[in-house]
Amino acid sequence: MKFINLFRDTRPLDWLVLILVTTVSVASLFVARATSAKASDLVTVEVKGKIVYRLSLSKDTEVDVKGPLGITHVVIKDRRVRVTQSPCPEKICVRQGWISRGAIVCVPNRVVVTVGTEIADRSVDAITG
């Protein structure tokens, strides 16, 4: 039984099955890639460790979140995020400015804004300093 015979003797239904299987496999690969690429587009806003907003980095928007000290104002524009107003004393979060990856943390008002999901697509794993 030569391999070539296998193709010659294959019936239309066999081909259909083979094509179907191939299409599904290849398509699933692309779907998986598309989903993981989307992950780094996600902006999450947390207050006291609880996620209050899941936003898209590609959609310009502004949200207010209420922390223990008051309202923190978060702005997404041109695929970047920043905190423009905060009731915290030192305003480290406001001074941090625009970010397109990583996180803005307001310790006093317990607000954390993160770009990307749990498995972020970043060039560095952490930043010291």
Binding site: L6, T10, A103, V105, I119, G129
Partner: protein, 342 residues
Amino acid sequence: MKRLLLFTVSLLFIAFTLTACGSKRERLFKDSKVMMDTFVSITVVSKSEKKAREAMDAAFQELKRLEGLLDFYSPKSEISKINKGSGGVPVSVTPTTFSLINTALEVSKITDGAFDITLGVLNRRYDFFEKHHPTESEIKKLLPLVGYKKIVINPALRIVFLKKPGMMIDPGGITKGFAADRAIEVLKAKGIKAALVAVAGDIRAYGLKPDGTPWVVGIRDPRAKSADEVFATLKLTDMAVSTSGDYERYFIEKGVRYHHILDPETGMPARGVISVTVVGPKATYTDSLATAAFVKGLKEGMKMVEKNGYMAVVVDSSGRIYHSKGLEPMLELLKKHIEVRD
């Protein structure tokens, strides 16, 4: 027969695709929390999400415990109890707190006092939000309360005593590194083969990422506006790294930058360098040695770090970057120098 063969091939193909998707491959799991007055993130490599979660939860729990013991600003912490007893009552503490203070004293000795947790009393006089710093006469009055040799310890009874009334220890310059080390120990005990713990900028990593590469840690540009702009990257495995910089907490008054890293000799912010990154086996030491090297300045600081088997990247006040030779295989400089405009 032939059809059976084709059927088998198709079946194998499906089986292969399914295995590739829903496999038990090693993956990265990350969780972050606001604690210890900062942002803590833990990344672990694991095949099982459940195991990863359990390990991360245990590590966070340990950090919560440390926060309760070591917080300088919480009146209930053991640090506050020691401070309240200054000049009068020796305080018995848990093995954890004792180990931290003992290590802090050891670092004070090997750095000739450039690292000193008794600066607490002066730290309290700086308010970086209200832009307030103590006057020269205030500093002069408070300096006699500074000096690690005025801390008395008894290892057998785990007792800590501050000799002079009004003395205050603030272990802020070592606590975060100490916490990173403790979290790593917990993850190892939980069977995690590779992980990275970042307590703010005090980071310790071990093992390799799922793709077999080392962990990459960026060093923040000390004068860039954005906190995620880095001037160098370090490839690390089984290493810790910490950075002390004059840009973390500061204000500028009449062109002078007042920042939080104080020289124990003068009680004033240390001058000469703007960022010191220390790399080595333990975060407890990278954290405290980075502070000490910042105080000592470029030459002396670098020498002291290397003498103790650690390595450093230093940016001086003109923006020039220096690094230990030993770092070359793992260090990549993304900028040749730092733009300094102050």
